[in-house]
Symmetry: none
DNA sequence: TATGAATGAGCCTTCATTCAT
DNA sequence: CATGAATGAAGGCTCATTCAT
């Protein structure tokens, strides 16, 4: 990858195209799998010739990194803001989960790729940055649960299991959630919270 | 793959080695990923020369198939038996989930591989058998929830979400559950049921 | 094989190199045999790295197809033109055989490969196109013999045997005919016709 | 290949089986091609397990050698006898060609294999024995033509071409001659001689 | 910037052959 | 004699990446 252009006008176009490339890559990776996708597939999907891709990225693996990074980074930022804003634990949790599910839905393909390649990300030392972001997010989530439990707002049979379950639910979401489905994103997020918090329907 | 030997004595050894190969493959696939694992990796992991593997399998993909099949087939059989045995819905559900989690724990690597390669299995028509087994199992699970709801044993805010959550939780299990961990397998299974059913701890 | 370039300048070079590759392949195949020739052999013979060959072809088998096709297609076209032009049956036959022998001599290696791999071409359904061309050419030849016999220009003891013999003679030609040999191409062609037509030398 | 058994009874059975193996090999080679036939194919065709084949032969290539040898050796012996017996040149030629065509028909698969692998046999020094037999046979044939020409029994426009044509015709025979076809073996042989000798049908 | 030809390592698989049983 | 498991060297092909144009 040559140095990106410095003149602002060119830089803008460059950044736009690079973002487009990452988007396309996420879509194709999500469908065929990262390993099963060839640079030629991306070349075809973007309309850029094989060599042209390398003006925007260093290589195939960097695409995977960018996908993971653009998925986790903003989520972590938003989550920190929500937690920092404070409030009643349940409100914080619900706000956080809602933002999370929205994020997952908006970056559905990114999330699918991230989950698919989890075995690499979790093991390879070169992926520690991404891994750390995931861990920080999960830590944040746990903090909220701990705080709620401490304040008596939440009563978990087992907080660890509750956290793992919440992670599982939301991570699994992109496999079935589609825009315009039976449940709205907010409903899904609230539903998850209800389940975790043991909120039973009123008629019971 | 040549036809398996017919003489019983040889057949037994053949089957044993083949099973061993599938086991090793599951372990290596789980660690490095199916695509990232070369037949040479398996050759090294099994101690069998590259060509020797093909006495037991038709190709790399068949290993993936066998892994999925040996994971789902017995689970489905067991699940059907549990449901057929009948009983109070909650008892049935708990028995079922417990068996499921035990199965997942025993076939941890198989499950990891199955989850990893889900994008292939769900899309490729050649994998319809495996996909069908997964669907049948999920259908069975849903039937139990439906029955429990009908009998008034369960009260879900949203049964669909409950099912998806349960699937997510158990499918996520092999990522963190280790034998000898804080929670026993049974505790985990019951914990999952509690969460789904909205069982809150005695507010002591 | 990527799509061939569309820009005319590039396309010309591409076509030239591809033709070169087919030529080299025909030569090497003719010498070592199609099956006994590895892509590495072709790589070495062309000076192109192993992978580079696949810019021009889909695979080894396509080379064999192109060789057969480039051998038969133009021959058939030329033969049709000669027959269509009409004239005295003997003149037509002699013109046809002469063109045929010239063609065979010019594409000596192609012909050798075609003959060598006849057992595949005649049996495999995927080779029906090539097979059809061969049959059409032979049919054309037979038509000429039939017409000549009908007009009383030819008198065969057995026309079927005459046709088979002519085919045998010409097909066998590349095994021994060399440019600059004792007999000119035209002499060979005429000699074949003499033999088939029972023309005996003036009993001087 | 271990040493063949010496006890006569065993030796007979051994020889019979070995001959059977060569026959089967010739058939399979003729159909699929020598190179395209795997030892496993032969194993299946003979009913002998892979390793068992090596009790009778040294390797795959020896099978090819035996096929060629068993084809050419007896033909050469018979041809020599016919020529040695003497007689009118035309009678000798006709007897010889008839024996030849009969031989070719009886060893149709052997001949097909021999023709298919001609490129190896003609080039590789290891095949000089087989090549020599072929050359001796052709020499014998030429001698007959020379003698006939000298005696004024034959009048060739070009004896060399006549020889090559005859070779071509007979060598091509296994590609189309089937037992029970329109022409008897003898008729075919005589037809070839008529063509070479310029014998025109009586009605002409 | 973009193209597309070219590289070369690596992958999955086949196969002739050997050898313990 | 026969079996069938095992070997290991190719073989055809793919693919991430480079680079002259």
């Amino acid at each position: 990858m040559p140095a990106p252009p410095t003149r602002p006008a060119l830089r803008a176009r460059y950044d736009r195209r690079r973002q487009e490339l990452v988007d396309v890559a996420a879509t194709v990776f999500a469908e065929r799998g990262y390993q099963a996708t060839s640079m030629d597939d991306l070349s075809e999907a973007t309309g850029l010739a094989a060599g042209g891709l390398y003006h925007y990225i260093d290589g195939k693996e960097q695409l995977l990194f960018l996908i993971c990074d653009e998925l986790l980074q903003p989520l972590l930022v938003e989550a920190r803001a929500i937690v920092a804003a404070g409030g009643h634990p349940e409100a914080v949790l619900r706000t956080l989960v809602r933002a999370w599910v929205v994020h997952v839905e908006l970056h559905r393909t990114y999330m699918l790729v991230f989950q698919q390649e989890r075995h690499v990300i979790e093991r390879d030392p070169r992926w520690s940055t991404v891994r750390d972001h995931r861990k920080q997010f999960e830590r944040l989530l746990d903090d909220v649960l701990v705080a709620g439990e401490a304040e008596g707002a939440f009563a978990f049979a087992d907080r660890g299991l509750a956290l793992l379950s919440l992670l599982a639910m939301v991570n699994y979401t992109p496999q079935w959630l589609r825009a315009g489905g039976r449940l709205s994103t907010a409903a899904v997020a609230d539903g998850f919270c209800d389940i975790i918090l043991g909120v039973t329907p009123p008629t019971a």
